[in-house]
Symmetry: C2
Subunit: 164 residues, 2 copies
């Protein structure tokens, strides 16, 4: 496997934005609409918001995925990190998601977070749920019928958590 | 009891802001810092953000509390409402919280939401937890040690949910 990870730069944004828009159009994982996630807002979300650290995956040199880590909330909850991930559809099954998950765990520890929390893991996304569980995350909440899945209709959403 | 509720107007904002700042300084319920919740941001939060409906409570004509209802998320999760509440400390034990909760439930139904979700109910706030349970909300998630309480240190946070 020749999957590598590096800190994202502003030059990565076009590839990140294209992948994000494709993902939102699919409507199976993120709640945001493609329309509301403009270029400006997407850039903040992945790259430039306060205390956000963004990484891109390369698979034989090709852009294969993106992840970002940030505080889940501010103030009295800022000790918990949040992270977002997208694996490029053409690079699935190559360990890209797992490599990003491990990297984010390591980075979160470096940044002295006490825990990582995923706020919105769609229950129908079995691959993601199993991956996070294999990395020590637990389902700490279930939002019943919280996501209007593009093909399955309303399905449950999990909140997943791991102490560091 | 002479507790009444009405739609908030911009003239209510000074009282809302003072109460919000007091509450944030107490550090026992909301995660936001007093500093980050500037006047401008507080105004958006309670009154002017998209699809936000704000109400104030009056107890014998005096400002006794504030609540707001809004979409919890956009897009594919916009069928779930979120709400925020503060009861003025000098008007506790007068049914103000319960009256606001009932009003928000009614308003959420009118607005055709499918459910209401509270994202951040501090477990140590027993009065709030019991109030929401008495109004049919269930704890659907527990964020372990998710809140740095001003006097108790890190305590659990509940996510509470009710279908409409």
């Amino acid at each position: 496997m020749t999957v590598t990870i590096r800190t994202a730069t502003s030059g990565d944004f076009p590839a990140i934005y294209t992948l994000f828009q494709q993902t939102l159009h699919e409507g199976s994982t993120y709640s945001y609409t493609p329309e509301e996630m403009t270029r400006a807002r997407s850039r903040r979300y992945w790259l430039t918001a306060p205390e956000t650290h963004c990484f891109v995956m390369l698979d034989n040199g090709q852009f294969a995925g993106v992840c970002a880590i940030r505080p889940n909330r501010t103030g009295r909850a800022r000790h918990v990190a949040n992270a977002s991930f997208i694996v490029h559809p053409e690079h699935r099954g190559r360990g890209v998601g797992r490599a990003m998950g491990l990297h984010v765990l390591e980075k979160a520890k470096q940044l002295s977070y006490a825990a990582i929390q995923f706020n919105f893991v769609v229950s129908a996304n079995g691959a993601a749920v199993r991956l996070w569980q294999s990395l020590g995350f637990e389902i700490v909440g279930t939002l019943p019928k919280g996501f209007d899945h593009a093909t399955l209709g309303r399905v449950d959403v999990y909140i997943m958590h791991r102490f560091l």
